[in-house]
Amino acid sequence: MTIEHRAFLYRDVDEFLEVTVPFLKSGLERDQAVIAVAREPNLTALRDVLAPEAPPIQYFDSAEFYRHPVHTLRDYQTVVKQSAPRTVCALAEPVWDGWDERQTLEWIRYESLINVVFDGSGARSLCPYDTETLPPRVVAEARRTHPWLVDSGHSGPSGEYIDPVTFGSGCDRGLRFDRPRDADYLPIDGDDLHALRSFVGERAGKHGLAKQRAQNLVTAANEVAANALQHGTPPIGLWVWQDGADLICEIGDNGFWRPGPSPLTGFIPPDSALQRGFGLWTVRLLVDLMELRAGWDGTFVRLRVR
């Protein structure tokens, strides 16, 4: 049971309804668990059209559902697990405004990751893209992250689709990892990370992070540092600096990560805390963005929070 992951390029609300309403109804007919996540005013239009029949559909506003790509993947996975043994039929319209370039890249990557995370789930997902208002790049990437495409009434495979691993390495290729010379530095030499937690917590507080977000950063930095102590090669250290509104915390060691992180590392939600990858996946949940760089000069994990 593979996933049917389909991008739907639409021009206005009428075209949106022409395709999404039959899609949701087909899910009901197949006895799938049906959820509709859409942006306004599409969401209201959809509810109005479907209201007379009062079908068992769960509605969500995209503005609430799409806040952090790793969280959104987790939430869709929860829906899939809770619906089992029924499969899921999801209308899934992402949010593309309000992100900077770096965040947009993560949301594009997210669409590609759907193909891996829900492989074997039997889910059907229709992802609407508003071609009138979205930047051309976002629409172009949708053709590369969705194996299926609905465009101008035609439905079929997307010729430009790229598998998620290849796509993910493409996303990572252009990343820059420069670090200011005056970043605060803390060497990590013992196995006791108490001092590291105070160091990070203090800087997070000074940066103005709310208590919970500061604590999340501390937990994330602690996890990455514990990993470096366990698997890395000294010297190990932590740098903290501000980048505009962001606070960045980077942990590096001198080791060469072999076979090295894959473009999927830490993105696939584990089934339990006992599974490999639980730590890095949780780190991705705890911060706004985690970036990995494993090179000849060492392994570096960068955590970004705003």
């Binding site: 987790r74 196995d191 006791d192 108490h194 602690n222 339990s272 639980f278 730590g279 949780t282 949940l285």
Partner: protein, 327 residues
């Protein structure tokens, strides 16, 4: 009665209830492990069973005998069966009694009138006499303890007001003392909850077992009823091994184990992994219960989702300080 007092006034907070038992202000307690009890402490132990009692009173008695302090135990039980005493503990009870360092005084001699009724004034006099003698004998301190559950749960139970009055007077005598310290024991099932609270509130110090581990960052304390551990401070990779060891110990031959996380400020992700791994060897019907989750810890667990921590379950919510010391 001298009580070897240097201070004219109580060294601790003002009494927290007046004589009618009305709450005057928020109770204020110091919570101390038994080895931290010191002269001036009028301590309280509401134990859940003999294991907890023995793990508190045992060290209290033994440490006194080992450090040239006098131990006064008011009880009708035979000395060799008292917590911390007897051959099992390699303590020569008779020798300590002959030397006057251990005084085991029967209830009749300590605090009953000729008709067998409880007489608070006698108790205070008896203890005062023992403390005075200890001063003359050259002991540097006196440890006093008694279990007064019998006053409250026997058919001829005493009036609660009488017991409270006795506690106040003992407290007034011990608190300013530079020599005397006391632990009043009570079986927490001996009387109703409101009476327990009233009794507790006549003490300034709540005594508990010594921690299983404490390095200033992480503290692990055995809890009873429910059986488990209270984990305080920060649990991280450097402390996983000791925590796993204590967790395995407390889980052995016991039913459901509870972890009190009310004072756990930090748990690393490896710690969550450790809890889930521990739970895999427990029977499915007996999950590991996490009680009183502190917000920072709860937020991480909710972020990853409880279903990713199989075998762990949420227990009771954070408690009010009302139940402090009485379970």
């Amino acid at each position: 009665m001298r009580w070897a007092s240097k201070f004219p006034a109580a060294a601790y907070a003002e009494p927290i209830t007046d004589l009618d038992g009305q709450a005057m202000e928020k109770p204020w307690f110091a919570k101390r492990p038994v080895s931290g009890v010191r002269p001036g402490d009028h301590g309280w132990l509401a134990y859940s069973g003999s294991e907890e009692r023995d793990r508190v009173i045992g060290p209290f008695v033994q440490e006194g005998l080992q450090t040239n302090e006098k131990v006064v135990y008011v009880t009708d039980a035979p000395p060799e069966r008292l917590p911390g005493l007897g051959t099992r503990h390699h303590i020569n009870v008779d020798a300590y009694r002959r030397a006057g360092q251990l005084r085991v005084i029967s209830r009749q001699d300590a605090c009953l009138d000729r008709y067998g009724g409880f007489e608070p004034a006698r108790m205070v006099d008896t203890l005062g006499r023992e403390v005075d003698k200890a001063f003359d004998q050259g002991f540097r301190a006196v440890r006093i303890t008694t279990d007064y559950s019998w006053l409250l749960n026997e058919p001829r139970r005493s009036d609660l007001g009488q017991v409270l009055g006795c506690e106040h007077r003992v407290g007034d005598a011990v608190s300013p003392s530079t020599m005397a310290m006391a632990i009043c024991q009570i079986d927490r099932h001996a009387c109703p909850r409101d009476e327990l609270i009233a009794l507790r509130d006549t003490h300034e110090v709540l005594v508990e077992v010594n921690p299983e581990f404490d390095d200033g960052i992480l503290k692990i304390v055995r809890t009873f009823e429910p059986d488990g551990l209270r984990v305080e401070g920060e649990l991280d990779a450097a402390r996983h091994a000791v925590f796993a060891e204590k967790l395995t110990q407390v889980s052995k031959d016991r039913g459901r184990v509870h972890l009190d996380f009310s004072r756990l400020a930090f748990i690393d992700l490896g710690g969550l992994h450790l809890l889930a791994r521990h739970a895999t060897v427990l029977p499915a019907s007996e999950p590991l219960v996490l009680d009183h989750l502190a917000p920072d810890v709860e937020s991480v667990i909710e972020m990853v989702g409880w279903h990713r921590l199989p075998g762990l379950t949420r227990g009771t919510e954070r408690v009010l300080s009302d139940s402090e010391g009485i379970g």
